[in-house]
């Protein structure tokens, strides 16, 4: 297993490793501010969870995860969104909004360097199976599945781009092309676009299932969010 940053140029690797210059750290700082700030209609994240450096250590590395209250598998962003809705009585976090990216980047950052370990048995099994099947399913006008590029041809080039293994370890990551931090779901949707397939909406069961499969596939890799990608 090879992490996503290993396929990047030396410049991008250096940018990711530099805790100040890494632009993703701007979102982490923003998330830290939101964490400690009381919501309009409820308590701050910190009121219940305390110091994120302690309470959120390693948490992101275990997501996506089955949530008994919600009755389905959720990814980290979905879990934060659910917490905002139920405990802060808010209206939820819009996908790719600065608030959602900030909080998820801040929580994911607390797991930096920790191994990705997800549960795929029990109630998470159907979702995992769905993700594993999607990974092998040919889609779009290109008639390609994830596995064709990211298992079969990782390390080779696609025009001037090196195909990675499609690992989720650095996400949410700052993508230079988008000049913004982006969630793993946005990246996956871009891949759907790339093979000219219909893009599943944010937070759809398909994307969460794929995320769970990818997290299981990344066994042995350590979290490195916020990463930097080209």
């Amino acid at each position: 297993m090879v992490g996503g940053v290993e396929y990047q140029s030396a410049d991008v690797k250096a940018l990711e490793a530099d805790a100040f210059a890494n632009p993703g750290m701007l979102w982490v700082a923003q998330g830290e501010r939101l964490w400690n700030q009381a919501a309009a209609s409820g308590p701050a994240c910190a009121s219940c969870h305390g110091d994120a450096a302690k309470s959120m250590k390693g948490v992101a590395a275990s997501y996506p995860k089955f949530d008994a209250t919600l009755g389905r598998v959720v990814n980290l962003e979905g879990r934060i969104d659910a917490c905002v809705r139920t405990n802060q009585k808010g209206s939820g976090l819009v996908p790719e909004s600065p608030e959602r990216l900030g909080l998820s980047a801040y929580v994911a950052y607390q797991s930096r360097g920790m191994p990705i370990v997800v549960t795929i048995d029990g109630p998470a099994k159907p979702t995992f199976d769905r993700g594993a099947a999607l990974h092998k399913l040919r889609i779009g006008q290109m008639n390609l599945a994830c596995t064709h590029c990211h298992d079969g041809h990782a390390g080779k080039t696609l025009l001037n781009e090196t195909v990675s293994q499609g690992q989720p370890d650095g996400w949410p990551a700052y993508r230079l092309e988008w000049q913004s931090l982006a969630s793993l779901q946005r990246r996956l949707r871009a891949c759907f676009y790339g093979v000219r397939a219909e893009q599943p909406p944010f937070d759809s069961d398909d994307l969460v299932a794929l995320e769970l499969f990818l997290a299981h596939r990344a066994k042995g890799l350590n979290m490195s969010a916020p990463g930097v990608r080209r």
């Binding site: 100040f20 210059a21 632009p23 701007l26 700082a29 923003q30 000049q179 913004s180």
Partner: protein, 109 residues
């Protein structure tokens, strides 16, 4: 608007030290169009000023050629301890500010 400024933990009196500034900003060029085809107005951080203990040490006027979330790096010299302050404003008139403490090492004598 969010920004960060970084200086070494300890600087030597009279010797140049590295200052790094990172500002979170979309830096809209004015050439892009939104989903409905309407032009997105230009909005970049046009003025940025860094002062050390009240004295201006660096300033920049940036245009649409700068990337989003601009990163700047330069060298400054401090003779005494003080606060280093970066202040910026964009085309919309929004301003931002970030500070850091500069601590000057006592000379070895």
């Amino acid at each position: 608007m969010l920004g960060r400024i970084q200086v070494p933990a300890l600087v030597k009196k009279g010797e140049p030290f590295e200052v790094r500034v990172l500002v979170q900003h979309p830096m809209e060029t004015g050439f892009r169009r939104d989903m409905n085809g309407r032009a997105i107005p230009m909005n970049v951080v046009d003025k940025l000023k860094v002062s050390l203990a009240g004295r201006e040490v660096f300033s920049a006027e940036m245009g649409s050629g700068m990337s989003a979330n601009p990163y700047l790096q330069f060298y400054a010299v401090a003779n005494e301890a003080g606060e280093i302050v970066v202040e910026w404003s964009d085309d919309k008139g929004e301003t931002g500010r970030a500070t850091a403490k500069v601590v000057v090492a006592r000379s070895p004598s």
